[in-house]
Symmetry: C2
Subunit: 341 residues, 2 copies
């Protein structure tokens, strides 16, 4: 099933509980806004595109479940539910975007029944569009991969970060769908191990051959000729740099050293042409992510920790950017990208 | 106290139990060859130079504790004990070297009392020589560091891998002893986290400022100008490459990209001029090191894992090699090194 979806039988939201992976695969149902909010806060669903769908389905759920008798009352109710959902992760741009787009769809309704129908249709459309966009991105990207390639990736830019298919991993899925034999090397992605916990899990589910390595092995495997291409996702693409999970920049330098193509796969919504790298503040995460592994202490409690969530890879290290509107090559001419978008 | 030492009060061996760090600092006593063997097998003591001393003290312990009445009987007894100790980690060259050198010292004895004295003196000499060598290495290396430098290191080439002082960390200790203000960035060193568990612990013990990062952050911190020099240890130095903990090569490429000096600190016993990189087989460790953290599962049980213990850094990425006989610069002329040795 998709990462998150509408359950027509029971009229509620279902999702894969990502906090239990890879140990356990469990589908959870969210019957109330409260349980959806808990799921978002606890990262049972995560990844920008998946959160857009979560927000949208949340608004649809509130419309289905409300017992108010007037359209005006319903609109008030779903707006309030939307605000509650947005407040779970206030900096997640996609979450509020999904909420607001779905509320707007209800504004065309003439009665409660239509409002319920329109919100659900809109949420479903948001989810479908995300899959469709990733499919297009995957097809463009697949042209860059050759039969027999081994692709190294970092973190999880897969279907579990999206509604389905994925961006970096979507490219690999599309290439395999075309009959190309593609293997993957997944970096474990410290400190939160999205590579070992989530990427390897979703690739194995799809029977895509994957080998797990530690992040620091990227140099060794590239030097040994074990990697043909690198594909990573992106959190934000400014005029001059790609912001992505910490470690991405290191891999880009190693790829350059070994003349290995370094591709970024990301929807056009990731582009942020208004800014330069230096204007973006990099989020610092909790020191304890490096001092503990679960309950297991792995460093002195008083050791100073530097734990940036992202790093910036300058454009000169990027071989191409794969989007749902096509593949862009350096020099990444902003006007050209703008027109294509 | 030293990593491992002789306890004159109780006539036995004492060591820091490194398996309990950083959570707990505990000194354990080995009163018998059996308990010493258990300590070596369980990695309560680890690191090539420290194992040399462990083997030597083990032979001394067997001589002290034997109740045989003839010199011939004692020699037979300590040789047998030596073989038992060597068998705990058969590939650890230093362990058997320490055992054999101490047994040889007993061969000059004319009676049991002398045999006991000679083995203990020899073991103590082996430990003292190791400290003295590291001190010399540290002093040579300290000349490469400037007041205010931040040094990045990987794994643990510290006092806990040796009897005392350390190699890479010994250089930092010597520089600080000279009054230079040196700060350290320690990479956590996956998959066994020697950097976060041991390096940070021993630096904090000595009040040396240290910041912990994940291995993949090396690119980011070097790009941001947070690192002035990199110093790592070495497991083996062939004519063309430095073998060290996996991840070292990655850091060397990043350092080169940012024009940051990349130093290797290692005693001359690490040099292996007889071989080239391609002739050395790299040990592959257990896949479960990447699938579990303690008892905590962090990857699918059936995921394929590539887990080399070491990587090779080609000489062109090395700025200098710091030894107890001086600092060598590229081109690393083997004849020059040979003469100096």
């Amino acid at each position: 099933m998709r990462t998150i979806d509408w359950n027509y039988e029971k009229n509620d939201i279902i999702m894969i509980d990502q906090t239990l992976l890879p140990g356990r695969y469990e589908i959870i149902e969210c019957k109330t806004i409260e349980s959806l909010c808990e799921a978002i806060k606890s990262l049972r669903v995560r990844g920008a595109p998946a959160l857009g769908a979560a927000g949208a389905f949340g608004v649809a759920l509130s419309a289905q479940r409300s017992s108010v008798q007037s359209l005006e009352g319903l609109m008030k109710y779903i707006k309030s539910a939307g605000e509650t959902i947005i407040a779970t992760r206030p900096t997640a741009v996609n979450l509020s975007w999904g909420v607001r787009r779905t509320i707007r769809a209800a504004e065309d309704a003439n009665n409660i029944k239509e409002a319920r129908m329109f919100t659900l249709e809109e949420a479903k459309a948001i989810a479908d569009e995300d899959v469709e966009k990733n499919r297009r991105l995957g097809e463009y990207g697949a042209e860059l991969l050759e039969d027999g390639d081994t692709v190294m990736t970092h973190c999880n830019a897969g279907r579990l970060a999206c509604v389905d298919w994925g961006t970096a991993l979507g490219v690999i899925r599309s290439a395999r769908e075309e009959g190309k034999d593609i293997k993957v090397i997944s970096c474990e992605t410290r400190p939160l191990n999205q590579g070992s916990r989530i990427t390897t899990w979703e690739l194995l589910e799809d029977k895509i051959p994957v080998t797990l390595i530690t992040d620091s092995m990227s140099g060794h495997v590239m030097r040994k000729g074990m990697v043909d291409k690198v594909i990573v996702g992106a959190d934000r693409i400014t005029q001059d740099a790609v912001f992505n999970k910490i470690g991405t920049y290191t891999h880009s330098v190693i790829a350059k050293e070994h003349d290995i193509p370094f591709y970024v796969a990301a929807p056009v919504s990731t582009f942020d042409f208004e800014h330069l790298e230096d204007e973006i503040e990099i989020e610092l995460r909790k020191p304890d992510e490096l001092r503990f592994f679960g309950n297991h202490q792995i460093a002195p409690l008083n050791v100073e920790v530097y734990n940036p969530a992202f790093d910036a890879t300058p454009m000169e290290n990027v071989s191409a950017i794969i989007t749902e509107n096509g593949v862009f090559y350096p020099p990444f001419l902003l006007d050209e990208v703008r027109i294509k978008i």
